[in-house]
Subunit: 368 residues, 2 copies
Amino acid sequence: MPSLHVDLGHRSYPIHIGAGLLSDGSLWQALRGRSLRLITDEHVAALHLDAVRSALALDDDAVRVLPPGEAQKSWEVAGSVQDWLLQTRLARDGCLIALGGGVIGDLAGFSAAIYQRGVDFVQVPTTLLSQVDSSVGGKTGVNHPLGKNMIGAFHQPIMVVADTGTLRTLPRRELLAGLAEVIKYGMLGDASFLDWITHHLDDLLTLDPVATAEAIRRSCEMKAVIVARDERESLADGKGGRALLNLGHTFAHAIETHAGYGDWLHGEAVATGLCMAADLSARLGWIDADDARRCVDLIARSGLPTKPPGDMTPQDFLHNMALDKKVAAGRLRLVLLRAIGDAVVTADFDPSRLAETLEHFCGAPAAQ
Amino acid sequence: MPSLHVDLGHRSYPIHIGAGLLSDGSLWQALRGRSLRLITDEHVAALHLDAVRSALALDDDAVRVLPPGEAQKSWEVAGSVQDWLLQTRLARDGCLIALGGGVIGDLAGFSAAIYQRGVDFVQVPTTLLSQVDSSVGGKTGVNHPLGKNMIGAFHQPIMVVADTGTLRTLPRRELLAGLAEVIKYGMLGDASFLDWITHHLDDLLTLDPVATAEAIRRSCEMKAVIVARDERESLADGKGGRALLNLGHTFAHAIETHAGYGDWLHGEAVATGLCMAADLSARLGWIDADDARRCVDLIARSGLPTKPPGDMTPQDFLHNMALDKKVAAGRLRLVLLRAIGDAVVTADFDPSRLAETLEHFCGAPAAQ
């Protein structure tokens, strides 16, 4: 079983990756005897709850099953989780387990972060997206009508358990959405990994076990290195900080805000955002137009969207991006590519090139 | 102007103490030019908002004035603060200022902790209680119907400004409530400070400027040392950790839960809790009965309550204390005294002595 170690001093934790881990008793040994609560959603509960519940001997009161969907990642639901934790008297030295995708992980992580000023939590991601990305790095939170992930906390899990067997039960769309983040890691940090993905795309699309585990391991490893360097996203532009992980995300958040959370999967919006970031980088002359085309082609070959919603205008993008967290001191910062495998965070770009990218992707005639 | 430095590595911050600091332009220099928001309540706004607003050149949109009272420290109000911060687009590198007592400080601190996963905040405490206690240490949060401070985060301010001039406008009850925390510091950590308080009680009750500043400085200093040793309250029992600061507080929280937040001021409940902790320590034979009496006498001389609400029973205490955060693995832990000036956190005490203390203070006949 491959294991990674995220090195964050006394907040360090292991990530276990492999098939069949949910029912691997030895993994859960450390949690036996502790006061435990588990949060999941109806879809995941139907498929995987029994395995975890029996491995941990959880009774019904210790499990909260939410409706599926992004709408659960709200202030109101976070409040109802606090009610439940207090009513069932989770102790301060207890532990909250998140069994599910990114929505469950973000909500449960935020709940653990603020319950009695912070209790332990364990991430058990069951989607490719959450296995490669949202379970690593300690970002937790909920959405707000004015923006995604606008309310939250940094709270590291004490352990991540990524059972690749759960991916066999994923809807195709969600599998592809996760693949978008894998492609992101190749684009932002490792050109040889992007080549590897391009050559193994068919294996990844058919969930070949060896290729899948390798893609998860390399993605998590890359993210772990960046997170260890910049746990709270405080490094300045150009310092290789955590903001690099947002390649494609500023465009993606604008799409998600426009479409309403849930209509577009996060990974689908990221896929389009990656295309837009590559396009803008090429228009700025930072990468070759061929390189940008190679990225867009890989995303298209994967079956992921390469265009924003048809009714979205350049103005919609600009409006929604102004609320994005990456606006510092009034200037829009973006993650762009200096080369394939070499991303940079910068506010130092020609805004008329951004306008061209937006017009190109929104289908309006280009300004020149 | 006396200044203290709270040493927490890269989260270190200064505490400035003195008369007239609110309108001291040099103090506010560091915040000029930043995106700022200020939260206060109607009482404090009427007295002190103009001074801070003009020192910082804040416009109306940047100020939120809440109704006074503990009821504002709720999940719902915390949500409405997030709405406001997002609607007025506070940037991620902005700063939130808390102008007021503990309620405003705890609410604004929690709001800053979770807004976009954490923004800077500045504490400007305007009550004696918040100047000596709740503005130091980074504890933030809101109440829940099932318990006080049950939802929150550790989030350190970047600066604390304690203007002793604001204490002249405090209602007498609130001044005394703050004095209870000053007495707590003497009891838990420094017998010579307790003697100093006993000798200067009249000066403190008449707000003599020198004695007042000295009491605030010594209390903050003592708390700062303990917080620096144990920022997130993770030290085990008996290690001199942050839990020591809760001397009297387990009893106090039970009183506040029973009375409904706001009927008893926090410091009044703490005063009675200090009496109960001293009484129990004496019944256990850890301190002399005379020492316990000396503490109770000082609290009574201050004009603070030494008995819980008349309708409160030992069972009410036991029920409410079981929800307290100091219950670890099912055992009730209390902060008790091994000597005056030497507190200890322990679950290792005879519960029948606790029953005697509860019966004594609730006015029921003692069990033996």
